[in-house]
Amino acid sequence: MADVTQEQLFEFLCRMGDNTLVLGHRVSEWCGHAPVLEEDIALANTALDLIGQTQMWLGLAGEVEGKGRTADDIAMLRDVWDFRNVLLAEQPNGDFGQTMMRQFLFDAWHLAMLTALTKSTHEQIAAIAAKAVKEVQYHVERSGETVIGLGDGTSESHKRMQDALDLLWPYVGEMFVSDAIDDAMAAAGIAPDLADLRAQYDAHVTPVLAEATLMIPEGGFAHKGGKTGFQHTEHLGHLLTQMQWLQRAYPGATW
């Protein structure tokens, strides 16, 4: 089995942690604004799970890096170009339907990824995945049911869900594209070959979208550049101005 460098492992852990951090923050933006109380609570709970998972991923990233950075340091004191989340995670909430479509498209990948990571040769990664996967099963159950309910709902809700799918589908491909980091992780048995997850993802997502009476857009174009840090969308910077405001205005603040 091949070895990975400390830098590669750090990079991989930032990808996992930044996905959950950025999406967790996005989802938390709904707190107090969701269409009904039950959905507000469900969104807040989902955000909380994701932020909790972030603490584990970025906490381990800090340990691996060995420079004494905590999960909070990594989350709050980096700028856009150091973030390694997929572009899907940073896309704006839009309406409730768009938020739930983004959630479902991510959750289905997250479930497949975490399930594979429970068998990681890296003991701590396997432990975090085993913890997180139980929470994500509840996330995807809800997001899938909501996509079906709204897609196969009124003509208005159907239209909004189809618009959301058309908008977000081109961001799905990035989750399955491998680069040198992913190849190194796969060779060492730390993480799965991402391309191998695609069949499982499609087998999950396709029937749900069909039941939701939604059409998957044609074409395989994928927006890329988030997880490699090459180029994020404009939205991430705006998100960070909110998320990191306190630590930037009052560095080192505690309470």
């Binding site: 469900a42 799970d49 998972q53 396997a126 139980k134």
Partner: protein, 152 residues
């Protein structure tokens, strides 16, 4: 003299869960081990949900309770593997949940009956509730909503 481990478990069984104070942290199944390392008592605690805000309060409550019993050096360590499961809820804890109005978890994925009127005519409102560990259900007979401690 160092208190025996069985004694420490008894003391921990008196530390309430901050969100559901009728059950103890031992009933909840989150205390995974108690061991002396020299003069330091190490208590292994596993979080229920990754982001559960009660986790840090629980660690603090455990330290405080043991300090109050005269144990000076307490180290609470977080242990995430194996992950917490609702299978670890004690029978005593399950019974207390029902008395408190929370339906305990069941492998079937839903409550056996309404914790108030015992009707089995219950429906799910939402898989997510007032804390990460609970779902919201409603009784179709007494018409009261209630919490269900969901399986994980």
């Amino acid at each position: 003299m160092k208190p025996a481990e069985a004694q420490i478990w008894d003391w921990l069984d008196a530390v309430p869960d901050p969100e559901i104070p009728v059950i103890s942290v031992v009933d909840l199944g989150i205390v995974r081990g108690v061991a002396w390392e020299g003069d330091t008592l190490e208590v292994a605690v596993t979080p229920t949900y990754s982001g559960c805000p009660a986790t840090s309060i629980i660690s603090l409550d455990i330290e405080t309770a043991l300090h109050d019993r005269g144990i000076k050096d307490v180290r609470v360590k977080t242990q995430i593997s194996p992950p917490w499961t609702t299978d670890w809820l004690s029978d005593k804890g399950r019974a207390k949940l029902i008395d408190y109005g929370i339906a305990p978890p069941r492998a079937a994925g839903g409550p056996e009956c309404c914790p108030r009127c015992k009707s089995t005519n219950v429906t799910r409102i939402s898989q997510f509730g007032s804390t990460p560990c609970k779902a919201q259900w409603r009784c179709a007979d007494c018409l009261e909503p209630f919490d269900y401690f969901k399986c994980i």
